[in-house]
């Protein structure tokens, strides 16, 4: 039996935009989306998740509940609950979210604004940061995504204040 391919599970559970697809304009929906293609314009998923796959190229502002970036994003990301930059991510734009996870090796040029949670009465702010133990050349500022397989995640800090 063939081993499952990465991200195959997303194809059945969520809407999927393949890597050959180019979308120009406003992209909105009320279901989770896995995006491995190219989008120019605006992405609005409100209470749903967006995963920008490793081939994903986004030139748009993004608003979703959770945003996970493996590919490239040029635009601002507002993730009402969580934003996660994987080690291959290249983001030029600002992040506004309650919880952020950045893997070592991710390239990020912009601002991080942590929003306080409004749903929890005690107002606890949860924030997690992931850091890898090894250096990845993706952080060198190259426009290409980092593909260093040696950049395994080495430590995770999950702090609650």
């Amino acid at each position: 039996m063939d081993a499952p391919k990465p991200f195959d599970n997303y194809k059945t559970d969520v809407a999927h935009i393949g890597k050959s697809v180019l979308v120009k304009g406003e992209l909105s929906g009320s279901e989770d989306l896995y995006l491995d293609g190219e989008v120019e314009g605006n992405i609005q998923l409100r209470d749903h998740s967006l995963i920008v796959g490793p081939h994903g190229r986004v030139r748009a502002n993004i608003q979703a509940r959770d945003v996970v970036v493996h590919g490239k994003v040029d635009g601002n990301i507002r993730g009402t609950e969580r934003v996660e930059l994987k080690k291959s991510a290249v983001l030029v734009g600002d992040i506004s979210t309650q919880r952020i996870i950045v893997e070592d090796g991710a390239f990020f040029k912009g601002a991080v604004d942590i929003q306080k949670e409004t749903s929890k009465p005690e107002g606890k702010r949860e924030m997690a940061m992931a850091a890898a133990a090894s250096f990845s050349p993706a952080a060198s500022g190259s426009a290409t995504s980092g593909t260093s397989t040696s950049s395994a995640q080495g430590s995770v800090v999950d702090k609650k204040s």
């Binding site: 950045v102 601002a111 991080v112 924030m127 940061m129 850091a131 090894s134 250096f135 952080a139 500022g141």
Partner: protein
């Protein structure tokens, strides 16, 4: 300005920004920093400050400062300065850099935005042409009274002093992560540093044991 800048710098190498080996599995070194201690003290008790981290993207730094309630801006200007497309031409074997383009594409913020800047040792590794314009840009984007922390190698560090990523892990503790691909371009003595930051209000020097001078600059 160029002639002044030339007099400030002493190049270790003929080819600026020559690439060193990438050390994929470089160890992390803990290091105490008096400059960081002063930097931390200056920010203590304040929230929602705007902090600019100019090193390579550091998840640890983002976590550290956002947890303190600050807004963090991160921009890897050293890598941007090493982009080969920033070299317009070569004259007598020396690269001519596109400084206006560098400034148009990097450190583009509104005036007097930042309360604190982490410059690390970027000026030591950056091509000469960008250093003074970059410091002038710092002056314009920092608020009056804002602070900047920078590190400068002394001559004793030698030309092969490794470049590090700096992760803030405590009030006065850093974790240094070797593996970046830059080579030391020059050393600044105290007078050079004072000239470089002459438009700023004050400078405070801390001499460390590892051939690094730490400088806390107040705008």
């Amino acid at each position: 300005m160029s002639s002044v800048a030339h007099s400030l710098f002493r190049l270790f190498r003929g080819a600026p920004a020559a690439e060193a080996d990438v050390r994929a599995e470089a160890p992390r070194i803990s290091r105490r920093s008096s400059g960081l201690h002063e930097f931390t003290r200056a920010l203590a008790g304040q929230q929602e400050l705007r902090i600019l981290d100019l090193g390579m993207t550091s998840p640890i730094n983002i976590g550290h400062f956002t947890e303190l309630g600050h807004k963090v801006y991160t921009e890897d200007v050293l890598s941007a300065s090493g982009d080969h497309s920033m070299v317009m031409a070569t004259e007598n074997g020396k690269p001519m850099y596109d400084v206006p383009r560098f400034l148009a594409e990097n450190l583009v913020f509104e005036k007097e935005l930042f309360d604190a800047v982490l410059c690390w040792d970027i000026p030591d590794y950056m091509p000469e042409a960008f250093v003074k314009p970059m410091v002038e840009r710092f002056h314009s984007v920092m608020k009056p009274g804002a602070i900047l922390l920078a590190y400068f190698h002394t001559r004793d560090a030698g030309p092969d002093a490794p470049s590090y990523r700096y992760h803030v892990v405590g009030q006065d503790m850093l974790e240094l992560h070797a593996g970046a691909r830059f080579r030391l371009q020059r050393v600044f003595n105290n007078r050079h540093i004072e000239n470089l930051f002459r438009d700023f209000a004050s400078l405070k020097f801390f001499l460390a044991r590892d051939n690094v001078r730490e400088v806390l600059v107040v705008r």
